[in-house]
Every structure is written in structure tokens, then in C-alpha cells.
Point group: T
């Protein structure tokens, strides 16, 4: 029954050389390989490293919520 | 007199399928239909929903400040 | 088109002599008289006053989000 | 019945060339033109602009709570 | 030796149509199916959705701490 | 003169096996044995312990404000 | 030995009809009647009540730190 | 009955010339002279003063929780 | 071109025996001796020391933003 | 390709009878038994329990970030 | 020796008419003219001004960390 | 006159392979080479990197306050 759905939240950091959106998409894409039923995300922090005076990578940390459906919510 | 201007802040959430900037622009565009004299914004939160392992919509919540000019600041 | 829905958030404080849930419900019930399309709430703060050593009223402050649909989102 | 009063909170920024108190009073004075039953305020942020090395204006952002009494709480 | 116990914290969201306590209990009940040795919880956020002007579901997010005992703390 | 009343705030944690409200009431009831003139409370944190996969106790931390009336406000 | 001084912090709210500074001074003046060796303060929150569209009282909450010197640090 | 224990939290700052741990221990040692039944602590802030380019004292502020047992919880 | 102006923020603490405003003005006045193009400030924290039961000094910490114009923005 | 590495963050609490550093090291040592590629940590909270007026255990909560490399990032 | 590197953090606000990423890049580009060895950034705040109902400029505030290498870290 | 002293705060990150205290001392020692009159510090964040399952370096970020005495406070 959907009304009693329980969700778990995990925290993931995606990286990209070009944009915040791409870094976040990378994180979700990778999480999708092992977490099913992802439902929402929340951007938590945007950091990055600088090489030779320019942004080298964007590092975007997000929380991802997904429904726990069977016995494997760990 | 501009020096004594009073501002009101409202909180709006705009949505977009493609980027944070577009979601924020959507929110401001819609607010512009009924709020005049908008002066600044502040991005408060970036969330979104995920469908089939991909970002479906970006939901960007912003505060918008605007000058109260006549009697209708509510 | 639902995808481009814009939401507004307002902040309401409901009161109750008995519980947090009832105070929140009171706030939403009252907001419903003038705000349509309410979609979600977030509990922000729980305070209250004390009279003769006992809780007299619970004061629950919540944010309420609702979709802006026509020209009257102010 | 007073016990079930519902309050709404708005966020206002008042300005003054001389003090934090005056900026806050300006904000409340202006809000009073269209919001009735104001009950409390909370100072949220104190900013200002600087011109020629001196404070030009204080900008004081406050939350204002007021009782919703009839059908017009928007 | 109990003195050197290491704990892991996970973040869960439980839902209920009636109360904050029930939503939290739902989250813990579900987590108990795959996490053993749960020791404490902390309520992080209380949100919910609104349907037809009334609270439809309470969504309570909690942190849950549990002792890592064997090799499966992931 | 009531206008110049000074208040002190203390932080108390009440416990209950059944609900947040009862845990808070327990804290206020106990504080009432030695603190007079309690005026307001603010819920600060809701935690609890878990035994055998179920909530054993709710631990609700609150701030309590009370008026200082004589010489014994310590 | 001064190097090992231990301090206690208490939280006090002072009120004033005219300014933030006076409200804070009221709080410290009152605390001085029962707490000795006060050393520093930190302004925590500025609130107030509104009567007939004007600030009626400023309520300034502060933390006050004082050295514990003998056996009476309660 | 232990289940209904009520706790009070106080805020103490301990000092030490050598380490964070020692400063915290100093604070607890001093508090122990007048507060009984101390149960837990939480480190809140680590500050210190600098003399001649070196740390002179560590100042560690902690919250300490203790059970209220008789009539003297003030 | 004004559109691409870059600003730097510094953090300053001003002191005064009489008011928050004067302490902040002192900080800005002193900063003006070596920083040009100051544009805005934000009040961050208000603390102070207490001597003989009275406020001795107000210590107001502010952020100050100023435009970087030539090669000396360090 | 290192540029597109995705990281996951978990939250662990380590304990020690002697120091913050040892408690943190305990947490990382235990996590290392099941999580590979740990890259960084962030200290989140330092708490502890008190027995007979002395610190009995330090409880240090940390976030640990590690690279997701194969299919097992859960 | 790299192990003992000390870093300094500065706070910069970059502006752009088009995107968050460009505003941040502008800030880093400008900082690079006088600060060497920049190593990382953290996005702190995203604000902007609105002209005629549209975003005129994005103002992105970031912290930038850089290694102190010689005698000129001021 | 000491009463009107103005302070500036900078943010520094020190590193150490062994302890939080040493990392902080390293940061202050390095800052002392170019900043005079340092007066206080506040620990802001404790992070670190992990190599082969063990803490490799502690990275302690602190704020340092120092008095501005002549014309060189930048």
C-alpha cells in the first residue's frame, strides 16, 4: 500500500568538469546502478577543485530518497 | 523618498526539466504577473524529483524581495 | 502544463490545547479558506505558552506550499 | 474564540539612515497600512549599504506575525 | 567489548495518515526488517502532503543509529 | 512593573513511552516543582532510544522561559 | 589560578520599550542581583510584541557567561 | 521509576593550556562539585586565546545533561 | 564594465561603549583606511564584555563587501 | 576515468575512553572492514557519557566519503 | 613539505548575466590575478538582482582556499 | 585607546598527521609569520583525508582574530 511507504535517504557526490547539473546527473546515474525506486533529490553542497586558476571539477553533494520495497533496504 | 523604501519578501518555487537557472527564471516570470517592483532574489533550496533513474524536474525555491509602493503590499 | 507549475510558500502558525497534530491541522484548515491548491507543508517550529505550570496552548508554525494557477498568486 | 487563533507570518525589510530600531519601526509602520492585528516581530537580519566609507542605510529584515481574523488572510 | 562499539547512522522517512509518532514508528518498523541492533533515533524533519485542504500524510524523517557487530555494516 | 520583566530560559528533557506531547508535559511538570512563573516553552529536539526494534522512550528537549521575580533567579 | 577558570553560561531575556541596548542592559542588571563574576554576553535573538501597529516592547535574549568561583555554580 | 526521568542541561566552558580533552575534563570536574547525576555531555564550541603568536588557552564549551532527582533541580 | 564586477568580503569586529550602531560604524571607519570601494555590510554577531555587572563594551562583528578594481584585491 | 568518480557518504560514530582522535580512528578502522576506497572524513559531532563525575566515553560522529567503483555502492 | 601545508580561505562574489557557473568562474578568474596556489572552492550563496521582472545578474558568493607558500599570505 | 580597537578575522586551515591540536597550532604558527597581534581563535571545522583505511592528515579550519593597529589591516 503506497500510503505506508518508507523511504531511505543516501548522500552521494557527483563530479563534472562543466556544470552543477551535470555533476548531479552523474551522481544519480551512478546511484541508479544499485539503488532502485529513486524518488527525489536535494542538493546539499557545491564544492570543487581549482587547477591553474580555473575550476577543474565541480563536486555536487546531494541527498537521494528512494522507496524501500522488499527486504533489501540496507 | 527612496531612502525609506520598505521591501517585502515572498518565497516561490519554480520548476524546470533542464536547469537550475531555468527553474529560477520560471519562478520569477510567474511572480511578475502579480508582484511589481521585484528587486532581488536569493536561492534557498534546490530539490527535484527522479523518474526512472533520471532527473525529471528541478525544483528551485527562492526568496524574492520587492518594494512596497502603494497600499497593496499584502 | 503541470511541468512548469510554480509554487508559493506561506508561513502559518496554528494553535491547539491538546496536540501538535491538531495545531497544525488548525493552521491548514484556516489557510484553506483563502488559499487554494495547497500541496505540502513543513513543520518549522513548535512552541507554546504555559499557565499555572501546565501547557496551555501548542503553537505550531508550518510552511505551506501551493500551486499558483491563475493571476491571483499574491 | 481566542484559543484557536491562527497567525500568518510575513517577511519585511525596513530601512533607515540612523539606527536598527528606526529601520525596524519603518517596516512595521508600512506593514500596518495593509495588515491588521499585527502581534509580534522577530529580527532576522541586519544589513546595509556603504557609501564613501560610511553607513548610508541600515536594512533590517524582520518577520511579522498577525492574527487571521476574517476571510482575507492571504 | 562494548566500550569500543562503533555505530552507523541511516536516514529513514516513515509515513502515516494520523500522527507524527505513527509515521516514526512505521519507519523504525520497516528498518528493523534489515538492520539489527538499532539503538537510538533522532527526529530530523516533519513534512507532509495536503489533499483537498487537509493533511493526507505525515512524512517524518529520522536518523537511526545502530551498532555494527559483524562484517556487514555497510 | 510588567514592562520590565526579565526572563530566564532553562533547557529540560522529558521522557515518555507513548508520545512527544507526554514527554514534553513530563518535563514541564517536573520543572514546576522548583521553577515558578513558567511562561513559555520551545521544543528543541526529539530523540529516543530503541529496544528490540521498537521505540522504547521518546526524549523531548525543550527550552522553558520563566519570569524572574525576586532575588532567586539563579 | 586564573588559567583553569571554569565558566557557566545562562540565557536571559531583557525587555525595553525603547531600544535593543536598553533591553539587553535590563537583562544584565537583573542577572547581576544573583549572579556574580559576569564576564561576557552574546546577543542571541531580538523579538518583540506589537500593539496597535507599533513596537510595544523589545525582547532581547542573550547568553551571559560568568566565572564559577566557589561551590555555588548552580 | 527510571522511565520518567527528567534531565536538565547546563552550559559550561572549561579551559586548558594543552588540549581540548583536558579543557572539557576541567569543565566536568568543576561542575561535579555542585551538580550530581551528570549523565552526558556534548561539545558545543572550541575557542581559545592567542598570546605572542601561540595558543595560550583552549576554551571548550559543552552542554552537560543530568537527571533531576529530588526537589533541587534549579 | 560594471556587470562583471567581482567583490571580496572581509570580516571585521568593531567596539563601542555605547551602542551596536557605533561599534559597527567604528569597524567600517577603520576598514576604510585601507579598503576602498566598500559597498555593503552584514551584521554577523553581537557580543560584549561585562565589568562590575554592566556592559563595558559592545563587540559587533560584520562582513564588509567591496569591489575589486585593480590588481590589489588581496 | 577519475574525473567522473562518484562518492558516497556514510555517517559513523566511534567511541574511545581517552580522546577525540582515538574515537574517530576507531570509527574509520571499523568502517574499513566493509567499505573500500575511503577518501575523506568530516567530524560532525562530539558527545560522550559521564559516569561518577568523569568522562567515561567519547562518542565522535563523522561523515566518511568513499569512491564508488564497481556495482556494490549500496 | 606538503604534509604541513597551511591554507587560507577568502570569500569572493562573482557576477554574471547568464549562469551560476559563469558567475563563479568570474570570481575565480579575478582572484587568480593576485592569489596564487588556489586549491578549492565552496559555493556559499546564490543571489541576484531583478530588473523589469527578469534576472539581471547572478551574484555567486564562494569561499576559495589556497596554500600559503612564502611570507605573503596576508 | 584600547577601547576602540578594531579586529579583523581571517580563516586558516592547518594540517597535521597526529592531532587536532597540532593542526590548529600549525595554522596559527604559519599565520604568525605575517599577521601580528593575533588575539583569539575559533575552531570552525575538522576534516581530513584517509589513505589505505587510516587517517592520513587532520585538516582543521579556524578563524583567527587580530587587532588592526596601523594602516595595514588588509
Amino acid at each position: 500500500m503506497k500510503d505506508l511507504t518508507v523511504y531511505k535517504t543516501i548522500e552521494i557526490t557527483g563530479t563534472s568538469a562543466s556544470s552543477i547539473e551535470e555533476a548531479l546527473n552523474q551522481g544519480i546515474k551512478r546511484a541508479n546502478r544499485s539503488v532502485k525506486n529513486m524518488s527525489w533529490f536535494q542538493l546539499i553542497e557545491t564544492r570543487g577543485n581549482i587547477v591553474k586558476g580555473k575550476v577543474h571539477h565541480w563536486q555536487v553533494t546531494m541527498k537521494i530518497g528512494f522507496a524501500l520495497v522488499d527486504a533489501d533496504e540496507k
